[in-house]
């Protein structure tokens, strides 16, 4: 049965003064990483156990941060995970004395992954709830619908999970917490093609398959450019409608073209369907994968298990010797503890660290300028590099990451369907970018039976 939740969350939980030492109640700028993490752990544990007292402790007027976030609809799972991360940040900041000495209160609504609800939701946030700051929801369509309203109010918008939203508006107070970077169209598939070209002998042909949807179309346009750039001949280039459930005919056509590399841009249900079909048909190719949304989720990792072996796909974060960013382990440990209760993704590698990092950026900017002036916040974020749980982040003039850092990961040695194995270093080996790479690329594709 679908679990129904109260979506309007005017969260009144404010941290207890008893939990704050005189040191930790100082402004966030003077905090050490260790103290920060300790506060996060303490507050998250208390919040998770429901023992956080409800009382006004920090200042009379809380800072309200408003947003729409998918809690239902196709992207509801991601939205739940992102929301949990944002709540963890709220608990953390309130434990440290609040933002600018004021408690932080989240005001959020379920946008149902439906952009038509966005104008109503964001105008309510501004005009009725009177929020001080806003965040973007998850996904391109909802952020694209929210941006004009935020621009009209001249506020800052920090979003997670949207591609090329600011291309037309060029709004100077828009920021995107996504490692695809300002050249998202090509950078999303760049790592895949770079990895393909390391095979010996170098491949000469590629098949490109993707859903006819906003994300996939963007990625496919970039993949075509990359194929040309790396001198690969496109022997199959086909799209399929968004609700396609049967991939047998598509993959038979792909096989008929006999490509050495197969690049797929798909959404979660298709990603699972394409991989299962590739196994059923024992697809003969040297490299298989691409921008397959869904393989980053715990559910699909668990479902597909060994079928993921040798698939090369993008990830935002995986445990690796090269991704040991300060604070990420503590964040994930606490996230995973709370995720089960919150009904969110159990591993939390995909969106949660980025949603949390976005809040860290906002916190640092607000603390540094000692106010909520959107122009000053926007200028500060553009001018600085931020240390976050996902590493150092600098923004390009269009608000995307200045330097793309999408990880292309090959799943290796997956046995059975135990989720715990994905927490181990070595099951999701980073192949690209070289800055984070630590393993060897295996080929051909495991489904081909070699």
């Amino acid at each position: 049965m679908t679990r129904l939740k109260i979506k309007q969350n005017h969260d009144e939980r404010i941290s207890s003064p008893k939990l704050l030492s005189s040191e930790s109640s100082a402004k966030g700028a003077g905090l050490t990483r260790r103290r920060f993490n300790r506060a996060l752990m303490t507050m998250s544990a208390l919040a998770a156990s429901g023992s956080l007292p409800v009382r006004s402790a920090i200042a009379s007027e809380p800072i309200k941060i408003g947003f729409g976030m998918a809690q239902s609809g196709p992207l509801g799972g991601n939205g739940k995970a992102a929301l949990l991360a944002i709540e963890m940040w709220r608990d953390n900041i309130n434990a440290r004395g609040g933002l600018l000495g004021r408690a932080v209160q989240l005001v959020y609504y379920d946008d149902q992954t439906n952009p038509t609800l966005i104008p109503g939701i964001y105008s309510k946030l501004f005009d009725v709830d009177k929020v001080d700051l806003v965040l973007g929801g998850y996904g391109t369509a909802v952020q694209a619908a929210a941006l004009p309203i935020v621009m009209q109010r001249k506020q800052v918008l920090i979003g997670t999970g949207a591609v090329a939203v600011n291309e037309k508006y060029k709004y100077d107070k828009y920021f995107q917490m996504l490692p695809n970077g300002s050249t998202a169209r090509t950078s999303t598939s760049e790592g895949f093609f770079q990895a393909a070209m390391t095979m010996d002998p170098k491949p000469k042909t590629v098949a490109i398959v993707g859903a006819v949807t906003e994300f996939s179309r963007n990625v496919i346009l970039g993949a075509r450019e990359n194929a040309k750039k790396y001198g690969l001949k496109i022997v199959y280039d086909g799209g399929y409608p968004p609700n396609q459930m049967e991939f047998g005919s598509i993959l038979r056509s792909v096989q008929a073209a006999n490509p050495e590399v197969v690049f797929v841009a798909s959404y979660p249900p298709d990603s699972a369907g394409v991989i299962r079909t590739a196994y059923e048909q024992k697809l003969q190719t040297r490299m298989f994968g691409g921008a397959m949304i869904g393989l980053q989720y715990s559910e699909l990792k668990q479902q597909l298990g060994p079928m993921l072996n040798n698939v090369l796909c993008y990830e935002f974060y995986v445990p690796a010797p090269t991704t040991n960013f300060p604070g990420i382990k503590e964040f994930l440990a606490m996230y995973q503890e709370r995720a089960k209760k919150a009904g969110a993704d159990l591993l939390g590698f995909y969106l949660p660290p980025y949603a949390y990092a976005g809040m860290e950026v906002l916190e640092k900017a607000v603390t540094a300028i000692k106010g909520l002036d959107p122009n000053a916040i926007g200028r500060y974020i553009h001018a600085n590099t931020f240390d976050t749980v996902v590493g150092k982040v600098t923004f390009a003039p269009n608000g995307d990451w200045a330097k793309p850092r999408l990880l292309y990961v090959q799943y290796q040695g997956i046995v059975g369907n135990d989720l715990e194995q994905f927490k181990r270093i070595g099951t999701q080996v980073i192949i690209e970018p070289q800055e984070f790479a630590y393993g060897k690329l295996y080929y051909p594709f495991a489904a081909s039976g070699h």
Binding site: L4, K5, D110, Q112, P119, D127, A141, Q152, V212, R217
Partner: protein
């Protein structure tokens, strides 16, 4: 004393809402009101074919989407005033209605319903593969902050939709009370008998489909400016089809006021639910209300009121 004609009431209500829109500064109510008015247009338009003639049309989203993408095409070509886009959207949707009518109106019942549902899917697929309007990448329509004579552009959109709602209601009322309405009612009751009595059934059905589709297309034209980012999934959402049926069904399909009551009731509940209780309840609310009305009040709220009035009259006469 002469009785006040009933068309005056929608006009007065519209004028009252117009006056109210000049006083209310809060844009949230403009956005929420826009959605309610949009559904009044869709529900009234649906009822012209579905309610009066009994042909259940599941393809409201198709006509709505045509209007929305018609506006996108014009916006890309020469950015005309919104009113021109609305007229264009209405004409194109009306023409598609004409073609659809000739192709599908020989079908009845579930076959007709499936044919109209397929129309929405076919058009969505076409738009998905039409790069000129953005295809699956969608289309960004930059909305101006303000427009002369209105406090904000959102207020302007609200007033435009108010005008469209008034037109839709007046057209629905005019059709219902004319010989066309009587002909459509005859088709609903028994099409064969109507044909035998000399009712030009095909012509009436084609006319109803064109008017219904045209009004839906007109409702879709301002949509890109309301949402600012239009993608095929939003423009051809099945929710339009479901709500367009549910609203007249709940309000009552045999009177022009029925769809208005249903649209106001259901759209307001949905708007409130979005920002109060779980939004997942939205579709469930529609479902529960639909089942309740189909079983307890098949003629909708208007039917309930009518039954109460007749009972009262009988009691008074005895």
């Amino acid at each position: 004393m002469r009785r006040i004609p009933s068309w005056i009431w929608p006009v007065l209500v519209a004028l009252f809402i117009l006056a109210l829109s000049r006083v209310v500064k809060n844009e949230y109510y403009m956005f929420a009101g826009y959605v309610v008015l949009q559904y009044i247009v869709l529900a009234s338009a649906w009822n012209i074919l579905g309610g009066y003639s009994g042909y259940v049309n599941f393809g409201s989203a198709a006509f709505f989407g045509i209007g929305a993408y018609g506006a996108v095409v014009l916006d890309k070509l020469w950015q005309p005033p919104l009113v021109v886009a609305i007229v264009f959207g209405g004409i194109v949707a009306s023409l598609v209605g004409l073609v659809t009518a000739y192709l599908t109106l020989r079908l009845r019942g579930v076959f007709f319903a499936i044919a109209t549902l397929a129309l929405a899917i076919v058009l969505q697929t076409l738009v998905m593969n039409w790069d000129f309007v953005g295809g699956p990448l969608g289309y960004y329509s930059v909305r101006p902050d303000s427009i002369a004579g209105f406090p904000s552009y959102v207020n302007y959109l609200f007033v435009i939709m108010l005008g469209l709602a008034l037109i839709a209601v007046l057209v629905a009322r005019a059709i219902e009370l004319s010989f066309i309405g009587r002909g459509l009612a005859a088709i609903r009751d028994n099409e064969l008998a109507a044909e035998c009595c000399g009712v030009p059934t095909l012509r009436l059905k084609v006319f109803a489909t064109m008017v219904s589709g045209g009004l839906m297309g007109m409702a879709g034209a301002p949509f890109p400016y309301y949402i600012t980012y239009l993608d095929p999934n939003s423009a051809f959402s099945l929710a339009y089809g479901i709500n367009s049926i549910a609203m007249p069904l709940i309000g009552g399909m045999t009177h022009w006021i029925g769809p208005v009551i249903g649209a106001v009731l259901l759209a307001v509940i949905q708007q409130v639910a979005t920002v109060t209780i779980s939004s997942e309840l939205n579709l469930m609310i529609v479902g529960v209300l639909l089942i309740s009305f189909i079983t307890l009040a098949p003629n909708g709220i208007v039917g309930l009121f009518e039954r109460y009035r007749q009972k009262r009259q009988r009691r008074l006469s005895t």
